[in-house]
């Protein structure tokens, strides 16, 4: 490896990192500006132009706490369903022998391929019209209750566990439920954390579906109430960008922190197996 190549690689990666991180830095800077400063100098912190006012402003327009709680309930519900259904079916696919196993696995793959836009209209008709679940957490959670990518990750992990472990426990008379609960799940902690991380960003960041299904501002997840603020209110305010960016920071921080803390669980090999099937 020559020196020029190392330098060239450093430049490529450095430019890449800058392009990815700068907008986030700029988001924070912009959210703290008293008056929006779009000049090059405005990209650097200026003590004379710093304020927490924007956070107060956005909070008076859209209740940030309510939004965060709604996002939390929506995300929590989706996570719970994904984990319970996903671990059960992942275990059944990896460890148990039963009729229909091959077909179920084929379904898991098929579900990942059909895009959401085709299901948008019928799901809206069913959930909002027929079941009357508008402005209801259940209505938000239902379409995301199963996460087939997580199923594949769980299955992949359970497949890697040594078969002897299960055989030995079965001979000792342990039931399959006990095997799952006290052997497979404790061992699968890394896969479960990866599954949780991967699932978390779906509902937390989701806009289209909760936007369709919630009309009541008190039930909207933060992504939806912030989007409504951007498209309806922001233009008519004195510092439109400040308040919007403050809301954006509040929406982004929980996920970014989560991923920095657990970054070692979000690695290529787990993810690769999950998506490739």
């Amino acid at each position: 490896m020559s020196r020029t190549q190392t330098i060239l690689r450093g430049i490529v990666l450095g430019v890449g990192a800058l392009a990815f991180l700068f907008p986030f830095y700029y988001m924070v800077i912009g959210s703290l500006q008293t008056a929006p400063d779009a000049t090059v100098a405005g990209a650097f912190p200026n003590p004379a132009n710093i304020t927490g006012e924007n956070y107060v402003n956005i909070n008076s327009r859209i209740n940030l706490a309510t939004g965060l709680i709604n996002s939390g309930i929506f995300t929590g519900g989706v996570l719970l369903c994904t984990l319970v259904f996903g671990i059960l079916v992942g275990y059944a696919l990896a460890v148990l022998q039963w009729r229909g196993r091959g077909m179920t696995f084929a379904l898991v793959i098929l579900v990942q391929v059909v895009p959401f836009q085709l299901l948008m209209i019928p799901l809206y008709v069913l959930i909002a019209r027929d079941y009357g679940l508008t402005d209801n957490y259940l209505g938000m959670i239902l379409p995301f209750a199963i996460n087939s990518t997580a199923v594949v990750i769980f299955r992949q992990f359970f497949l890697q566990l040594p078969k002897e472990l299960f055989e030995a426990a079965r001979i000792d008379g342990a039931s399959e439920i006990k095997l799952l609960w006290s052997i497979a799940i404790p061992l699968a902690r890394p896969a479960i954390i990866t599954g949780v991380l991967l699932t978390f960003i779906g509902p937390w960041n989701e806009f289209l579906w909760p936007f369709l299904i919630t009309k009541d501002a008190g039930k909207q997840p933060l992504a939806v109430s912030l989007a409504n603020y951007i498209s309806n209110v922001a233009a008519s305010t004195a510092n439109p960008f400040g308040a919007t960016l403050a809301g954006a920071v509040v929406l982004a921080v929980p996920v970014v922190v989560l991923f920095i803390v657990f970054q070692r669980y979000f690695i290529s090999s787990d993810l690769g197996s999950g998506v490739k099937g």
Partner: protein, 311 residues
């Protein structure tokens, strides 16, 4: 599982259970464990999928809950209505422009950055996090900062000075869609970099060694070892980025204020929302959805033939 296990498991079972085995397999509990998942697949996937196609072929409208209404079969009427509407055709052209920019850019940049990242020893974790932060952050949040960066008096234009397009990026009918395509490329790149990183682990080291012995330089090695070595990942990246692109909604809704200027950045899903839910024509919207998915399938098939072939 081995036959030894089966025999052992068979011994522990009570007599008379062998017929049950024939029907449900060795471990019928598997079906029970899978039941919740399967029920949800039927409820929120299979049934809506069939329903979507049914709606597209019928005169479907929103009625009061519980009301008995007649929804006659109308053949291809909804498809004709959809495909003779200039706004719908424009949205398909727009998503075409989007894919032509977004998909190749995604493949090239993510492959390049993953290859560079793969050889790095220092700062590896930091760089990886930096690359996937946009991917894990909500579109709504990053849209806010892009609006700030790319508006008429924004930072991008103050750096470009006289080179800035007029009207500015997101309100310029020629630039609105390309700007959205670049935004989405930037936003999703981290995910594809992770896929390529995973694929790079499977390229045998010996290939690089023998290429090096044959006198191939780094650039030559990249094209004759890395690119063919990660081909399965490329097929996947093409497929996923095409599907993601066809699903485009949030970005035109927020970045260009609902597909503006004058429909120049409206995506098919945005039109489906406007037609189906705002203007009460779910049947036409469903027809657009069916056409869109067929289009995606054709593109995916062609991509697979062109890139996925073994040679």
């Amino acid at each position: 599982m081995t036959t030894a296990t089966a025999r052992r498991a068979g011994v522990s079972l009570p007599p008379g259970s062998s017929r049950r085995h024939k029907v449900f397999g060795k471990n019928p509990l598997g079906l029970l464990f899978s039941a919740p998942y399967l029920i949800f697949v039927i409820l929120i996937f299979a049934y809506p999928l069939v329903y979507a196609i049914w709606i597209a072929f019928h005169d479907f409208f929103f009625a009061a809950p519980g009301a008995q209404v007649d929804r006659p079969f109308v053949g291809l009427d909804n498809f004709v209505t959809a495909l003779t509407d200039p706004a719908v055709l424009r949205s398909f052209l727009n998503v075409g422009i989007f894919l032509v920019i977004n998909v190749p850019l995604t493949v090239v940049l993510s492959m390049l950055l993953a290859t560079a990242l793969n050889k790095v020893v220092h700062l590896r974790a930091f760089l990886r996090v930096a690359f996937y932060v946009p991917y894990v952050t909500a579109s709504v949040a990053v849209v806010a900062v892009w609006l700030f960066l790319f508006n008429g008096g924004g930072l991008v234009n103050s750096i470009l000075g006289p080179l800035a397009p007029d009207p500015s990026w997101l309100i310029n009918s020629a630039w609105a869609m390309p700007t959205i395509a670049i935004f989405v490329t930037w936003k999703q790149l981290g995910f594809y970099i992770l896929l390529y990183l995973s694929a790079l682990q499977n390229v045998p080291k010996e290939l690089y060694e023998s290429a090096s012995t044959d006198g191939a330089g780094a650039v030559r090695q990249f094209f004759s070892v890395t690119v063919p070595g990660v081909r399965p990942a490329t097929v996947l990246v093409l497929l996923v980025s095409t599907i993601t692109g066809a699903n485009l909604f949030t970005e035109p809704y927020l970045l260009t204020g609902g597909g503006g200027p004058d429909g120049a950045s409206a995506s098919p899903v945005l039109i489906m929302y406007q037609k189906g839910l705002q203007q009460g024509q779910p049947d036409v919207a469903s027809a657009i959805g069916v056409v869109l998915v067929i289009g995606v399938l054709i593109i995916a098939f062609v991509q697979n033939r062109l890139v996925g072939r073994e040679d």
